[in-house]
Symmetry: C2
Subunit: 213 residues, 2 copies
């Protein structure tokens, strides 16, 4: 199909498609003349993925490019694809390495041991969790660090669900794409569910009056 048809088919404007082509997020079409190219089903699918990463995942263009490159690398071990996706969507200030030993880094080590997890020190979650726990202490809410264990159990259930979906396909590229989409959009899904469950449980424990007092 021509670029105008690709645009009509996917709802992505022609200037946006040209921009993704220029930036290398979308592979070039097949040239049919000096200044005309034709596009296939794979282009339409890729455009859907690009828009999901940008619009729902909230990724900047450069980051989307990085995770799409991980999908496109043949035979990249799956744990590495997770790593690329995780690093790419991990806000640098939250996940930057924590210097030295702190209450947070100790709490993280303890929990990893108690949960029996095998986690490399480069996992961005290690620094992120330590930083949040240190912040709880700094703002005078060390009690929040005590819920850590419930959080870790919840996170393990969620990660098991994450990995279950990966096995739905035995094509490596499809698995890699599942990892990226699941990592980027999954955070949004987990936060959404947490908000619902919080309302349910807080209404049980602290019923609200109908009108503000």
């Amino acid at each position: 199909m021509r670029i105008s048809e690709l645009s009509a088919r996917t709802g992505v404007t022609v200037p946006s498609i040209k921009y993704y082509l220029r930036e290398g997020l979308l592979a070039p079409g097949e040239l049919t003349s000096a200044n005309q190219a034709t596009y296939g089903e794979a282009h339409a699918q890729r455009l859907g993925l690009i828009r999901a990463l940008l619009d729902v995942g909230g990724l900047p263009i450069a980051t989307a490019k990085e995770v799409l490159a991980a999908i496109d690398t043949p035979d990249l071990p799956l744990t590495w694809v997770f790593g690329v996706a995780q690093h790419a969507i991990s806000d640098a200030s939250l996940y930057a390495p924590v210097e030295g030993e702190t209450a947070g880094t100790r709490a993280v080590s303890d929990t990893i041991e108690r949960m029996g997890w095998h986690v490399s020190p480069e996992n961005p979650g290690v620094a992120g969790a330590a930083r949040v726990i240190d912040t709880y202490e700094r703002v005078g809410h060390p009690e929040l660090a005590q819920i850590w264990e419930g959080y870790a159990q919840g996170a393990e259930l969620i990660a098991r669900a994450d990995l279950a979906t990966v096995g739905f396909s035995d094509d490596v590229t499809a698995m890699a794409e599942t990892v990226v989409v699941g990592t980027v959009l999954g955070d949004a899904l987990v936060s959404s569910l947490r908000r619902m469950a919080q309302e349910h449980i807080s209404n049980q424990l602290y019923p609200a009056p109908k009108e503000p007092s």
Copy 2:
């Protein structure tokens, strides 16, 4: 203490403190002369909270102001404080209401019913979850919607832990502050833990070679 001492004590620069005073995030000090004010322990604590919301939580100033106002409103029912904190930190494009009935809104209703949750339709998580599920379908990964149930169970464990901390105090302002800090920083903690658990479980299921092939 004077503003310079407050700055030395908290590590927040004097221009930043003056900015927070102007923006109404920090209550004015007590005037000791026409152009000098004195600040107390409460100011130092509030500054810590402001920096946590801005730096670790990544909130814009206007949003931080909104959630701090919720903390400062006496007798606001706790479920409402949750609501304010959730709405304030919920990215508008993800959590904007979904128009009409979609596969996503149906999946959300089903899950709420199966989990036995009492959730109001205005909960931002309802639209957020529906939007993520619809996006899974649109990008050709409907299999991701099947992990929903594991996610919901994980989210319930996490929300139970969230609510447990609220009960650690019986002072309403302290409870409200716990809700805000926990909601804003808790998302970061959950994402961090999910990243660690993903690595652990993906290594179990799909062991990676030592070097890329």
